[in-house]
Amino acid sequence: MIELAGLSKRYGDKVAVDRLTFAVRPGIVTGFLGPNGAGKSTTMRMILGLDHPSAGDVRIDGRHYAQLKDPLTYIGALLDAKAVHGGRSAYNHLLCLAQSNGIPKRRVAEVLDTVGLTTVARKKAKGFSLGMGQRLGIAAALLGDPRILMFDEPVNGLDPEGIHWIRNLMKSLAAQGRTVFVSSHLMSEMALTADHLVVIGQGRLLADTSMPDFIRQNSRSYVRIRSPQRERLLDTLHESGITVVEAGGGVLEVDGGKAEQIGELAARHGVVLHELSPQQASLEEAFMQLTAEAVEYHAHADPGLGPQDRSAGWKGRAR
């Protein structure tokens, strides 16, 4: 269990992490989602006692990180796969970490085997590919057989096979009852791995919810309608108590999965329909909408491609 209480980090005037309060619970994969620069890595460094919080508090199983005896046996973390001395072999890198926490030597061979690096264990880390470096970082996290695991953007730069491996690893670690906290800037990645979701933007907490709830609240399903007899259709729907949103370009939208009901209504009143199609907004759109105001640097894309226009009718739902 990781508990954050009002955790904040300021660099001069700039607020990187702004009063974060949430808990990461055992037995599930908790996704830590936010756009680049949202403060995810800074938060993770504060959890590990590497960066000093400007305010607030973070505890691991009720204790501060520095109070943990042999911390690698409580919490294992992969922050940056490149944070290895390139001249040192994978084996010696893990050995020095094991020795500092009184972890038996045989664990080094075990975790090397788990991540599939046994054959290159004696090779210098500077010759490693990004994927191998990522595996070495994960081996280091697993070294102390900790109850809590934390991974910062673990699938970045991995090939599909590596991504698949990491997803399964995280799920199996959570299934063993461990606490798994994993960050990403990709909603689609989280949708595949996380059971619970913590979303931040510009250092602030935007959502702390279970994945099914997030999907239910944010993956808006609606019906898209086009009709040459627009006014008549609007009247008909209005009489039946169905709320319609005008989406521009002559397109009408109705929340919920009421396509059959609307079709029957239109038939009964003799309204011609050119289109009647159930739609589903993607989670990626929901995430972009949620963090739209919190993104530090906007790319000025072609209007119409951005998330804003698509979602004008359902602002405020995101929370």
Binding site: R45, G49, L50, A77, A83, V84, G87, L95, L97
Partner: protein, 256 residues
């Protein structure tokens, strides 16, 4: 977590990188070889020296002449041991494993210092005996008054130079910045300050000049206000200051 665990870990770190081997071997080879060369030159020039210089001839100190260059390798060793953590990003992994920063830094320094002491002593004794062999009839003997002190002092001097560099690297973090500060300081600035009359009085309180006094057996006719051990004491104070500064900054700063 015990200090013994962390010391074992730091020993694994230091023995598993190539820079340890090449910096320390360079320190030995350069110090000994240059000392032998200068001893051999002194022997061939001895008869043409003025009488005053002959009377002041310090055979022990001559065999340590290579230390001015050899200490630079010791500086590189001290700097790399600490700054490697920062330049590779390993510092975040290291401090996550050992969150007590005093334990982390002082275990690292203890291991590197022990290694530097062993190498420094071997270098000093080798430089002395091989240098004296080159001096032939003008040589000093280890049993002569003050000679053993000078040879042991040579080993301590090299160790303290490495420790001072570790402290500076802990403060500056970047290897390039640390080397770019220490190398010119010890190779140029200290020499210039020590040889210009106006700054001589300040120059002799610098760590290398004060510490180097212990390697002299025949005292120079100047008004240096400290003896061999006093000089070494001044150098120890510099080392303590550098290490304390390094620790205070490490404790205060975020790990990066």
């Amino acid at each position: 977590m015990t200090a013994a665990q962390v010391i074992r870990s730091e020993w694994t770190k230091i023995r598993s990188v190539a820079s340890t081997v090449w910096t320390l071997s360079l320190a030995v080879v350069v110090t000994v070889a240059l000392g032998m060369l200068i001893a051999a030159l002194s022997r061939s020039q001895f008869d043409s020296m003025p009488v005053r210089q002959r009377l002041m001839f310090d055979p022990t100190y001559v065999s340590f002449a290579g230390m001015s260059l050899g200490q630079l390798a010791m500086i590189v060793f001290g700097v790399l041991v600490v700054s490697n953590e920062y330049s590779t990003g390993m510092i975040r992994v290291s401090l996550a494993a050992v969150p007590r920063r005093a334990t982390f830094l002082f275990s690292k320094i203890a291991v590197a210092t022990a290694l530097a002491l062993v190498v420094g002593m071997c270098t000093s004794f080798a430089a002395f005996f091989l240098g004296q062999a080159m001096l032939g009839p003008h040589q000093a003997r280890i049993g002569d008054s003050g000679v053993l002190r000078a040879v042991l002092g040579g080993g301590l001097y090299m160790t303290l130079i490495a420790m001072f560099s570790m402290g500076v690297a802990a403060m500056l973090r970047s290897p390039m910045l640390s080397l770019g500060t220490l190398m010119p300081f010890f190779f140029l600035i200290s020499n210039i300050l020590g040889n210009v009359d106006a700054t001589k009085k300040i120059g002799r309180f610098l760590p290398d000049q004060a510490g180097g006094r212990i390697m002299q057996v025949v005292p120079r006719a100047d008004d240096t206000p400290y003896g061999p051990w006093g000089g070494l004491g001044i150098m120890v104070l510099w080392v303590i200051a550098a290490l304390a500064g390094g620790y205070l900054l490490l404790r205060r700063r975020d790990a990066q």
